[in-house]
């Protein structure tokens, strides 16, 4: 009964959609389908493009055993005897055999299955006879393509034109990011580069997402001001306390000073949340103004403040979980190794706390800032029109 209802509703919804399909969307739809099919085909047959030898596993047999770890607990270990066929390079078509060891935890090993593809390090003697084989890594490119395909198709199917815009802004931002990193590796100053990049990020993303209008202008100025002020606050707090309580162990593998890079990461991480709030607030003000152009400033500020209070909590929550999730594997590993909880919170979460807190401060601050800027811009415009 209930299922029937859902099916009916979905078919109704589909009907509404099919009536509205224009030529343009049809072209985009067909283009996307062709692109995704092409990418799937390419990714399943691209072994010849790699220099390293790739082997596809044809069969394997497993042997279970137990091993005592450092902390005295028993871990089950699997010994895999693998038969595979080499897919590219000079050994193409050759069948090979090798061993692989994997544990239950799989923290730094691979539990291989039939049909998996792995990169190998193959050594051979003068007669091209293979003497030793070592597994380097799994070939993961196809999974990235699979999940990216699901994402693109869903965002276009559900989001329509607006989905396409969001996708465009994501792609543009990633291109900007990679350009910045390229310039940085050529020797440009990272701090200056990222300040310029942040401005580009803000202007482009807001323009693409909300189009060219007054709302956009106030959102852009609001975001710039909000980011600047929250970074000033974070900077002053950091300067006064000289990074006390912040541990950079997670970033130690860099050859650059981690403090500078972390501060840049703070700026970029804060941007997104502020942008979101600034757009919401400026469009709300625009809506209220359009509905009642003679609205009193006090009333306007009061209703927009209420909207701000609505979104600020959930938004800060979003940032908190987005940042904390990255530290889950490390925390579990430390907990299982018996390290005390206070140690873990102090040493492994300080960077994530810092990011989430600066982001939340930016979110809260950008509410009054955007309100002020929007009102000034709208008022000026009204005077100019008369």
């Amino acid at each position: 009964m209930f299922e029937n209802l859902i099916i009916k509703d979905i078919s109704k919804f589909k009907n509404i959609k099919t009536y509205k399909i224009s030529k343009k969307t049809l072209v985009i739809l067909i283009g996307v389908i062709i692109m995704s099919l092409l990418s799937l085909y390419f990714i399943s047959t691209n072994e010849d493009l790699y220099n390293k030898p790739i082997a596809k596993i044809t069969s394997l047999s497993e042997e279970q055993s137990q091993k005592e770890s450092i902390n005295g607990k028993m871990e089950s270990i699997k010994n895999q005897k693998i038969q595979a066929i080499i897919m590219n390079g000079i050994y193409k078509g050759k069948t090979i055999e090798f061993n692989n060891i994997t544990s239950l935890s799989q923290i730094n090993d691979l539990d291989l299955k039939v049909k998996d593809e792995v990169f190998l390090l193959v050594e051979s003697d003068a007669d091209q006879k293979i003497t030793s084989i070592k597994i380097l890594d799994l070939k993961r490119d196809k999974y990235i393509v699979y999940i990216a395909n699901i994402f693109v198709i869903l965002i276009l199917l559900i989001g329509g034109t607006k989905g396409f815009r969001s996708l465009a802004s994501v792609v543009v931002n990633i291109i900007v990011l990679f350009t910045i990193i390229q310039l940085f590796s050529k020797g440009f100053d990272l701090m200056r580069l990222s300040i310029i990049a942040s401005m580009i990020f803000i202007v482009l993303s807001i323009l693409i997402v909300s189009g060219r209008n007054k709302k956009t202008l106030s959102a852009i100025i609001g975001t710039l001001a909000g980011t600047l002020i929250s970074m000033l606050i974070a900077g002053v707090v950091i300067k006064l306390n000289n990074w006390s309580g912040i541990h950079f162990e997670d970033m130690e593998f860099l050859t650059h000073p981690p403090e500078e890079i972390f501060f840049i990461e703070l700026i970029i991480g804060t941007l997104g949340g502020i942008m979101d709030i600034a757009i919401s607030i400026s469009s709300a003000i625009k809506e209220l103004y359009d509905e009642n152009p003679h609205i009193e400033r006090k009333v306007l500020i009061k209703s927009v403040r209420e909207i701000g209070q609505d979104i600020m909590g959930t938004m800060a929550n979003t940032l908190l979980f987005a940042y904390l999730s990255g530290s889950i594997p490390t925390i579990i590993l430390l907990l299982r190794n018996g390290l005390p909880i206070t140690y873990i919170i102090n040493f492994n979460l300080s960077l994530e706390f810092m990011r989430a807190l600066t982001g939340s401060i930016g979110i809260v601050l950008s509410i009054p800032i955007t309100i002020c800027i929007s009102i000034v811009i709208l008022k000026n415009h009204k005077i100019g029109e008369r």
Binding site: E252, L320, R336
Partner: protein, 262 residues
């Protein structure tokens, strides 16, 4: 003095000044959520199945967030239902692919920083990855879902004669408006954690072929994209469930009214 502590106080002060009582509520919801999050990790560390802990923990976190920030009403019930179904859906989509792609644990680059620890810990890290993905998108889907359902509730209140289909469509429109800004928020949040890695890759002059197959890179990309999928899926699901729920209660109200008349 500790920087984290000072920033916490600044945040509390700002939330109180700008958000009033609701600001204070939001602040303590954040703290409470962190405590729930950490309890979840301790449970996983005690060898309880990570997937179950994540699922139940996610429902508790959504309930706490929705309840404290919005109060108890129809809206939060619709959102709670939608968040739960999206978590299940994303779990369904990513479980197979995440385990096959073997993005769990630490890569050769990262493993040096934990070299002093035992890597045999009797917890399956391919499940931890799923847990990580779901927790990462939890906040975002709660945010999108409550925005959609409260706007739909407003529309319904202001226009009680609206049809179910129209209500669903306006829910979809509101969702599409949020989509663009929300993807950006998350994109930048993840990019900021990702920059260290990209700089590291460019320092070592890794080739593109190595990067796209590297474990760290794949797990980051996987997480961002799964987040995106979650945000997209929550839009039609919330619009659908909220429109259904509002009309269900309307029908029962009407029947109740009729019975009273008799």
């Amino acid at each position: 003095m500790n920087i984290i502590f000072i920033l916490l106080i600044i945040l509390l002060a700002l939330m109180t000044v700008i958000g009033g009582i609701r600001g204070i509520q939001s602040f303590f919801t954040l703290i409470l959520n962190f405590i729930i999050f950490f309890i979840m990790l301790i449970l996983i560390g005690a060898k309880i199945d990570p997937i179950k802990v994540t699922f139940i923990g996610a429902i508790i976190i959504s309930y706490v967030t929705l309840f404290f920030i919005n109060g108890y009403n129809k809206k939060i019930f619709a959102s709670l239902l939608s968040v739960t179904s999206v978590i299940l859906l994303v779990m369904f989509i990513t479980y197979e692919m995440g385990t096959d792609a073997k993005i769990q644990g630490f890569s050769n680059e990262q493993v040096e920083t934990v070299a002093y620890l035992s890597l045999y810990v009797q917890v399956n890290f391919s499940k931890i990855v799923i847990c990580q993905i779901l927790i990462g998108l939890l906040g975002a889907i709660i945010d999108v879902s409550i925005s959609i359902s409260s706007s739909m509730n407003e529309i319904y209140k202001n226009n009680p004669l609206i049809t179910q289909q129209r209500l669903f469509k306006s829910g979809m429109n509101i969702g599409k408006d949020i989509l663009g800004t929300m993807t950006n928020t998350l994109l930048f949040a993840y990019i900021s954690g990702f920059m260290t890695l990209i700089i590291y890759f460019s320092e070592l002059e890794y080739s593109l072929a190595t990067i796209v197959n590297a474990k760290v890179f794949c797990s980051e990309v996987f997480q961002v994209i799964c987040c995106g999928i979650g945000i997209i899926l929550i839009i039609p699901i919330t619009a659908f469930i909220a429109s259904k729920l509002m009309f269900l209660t309307r029908k029962s109200n009407k029947i109740g009214a009729l019975k009273k008349e008799k």
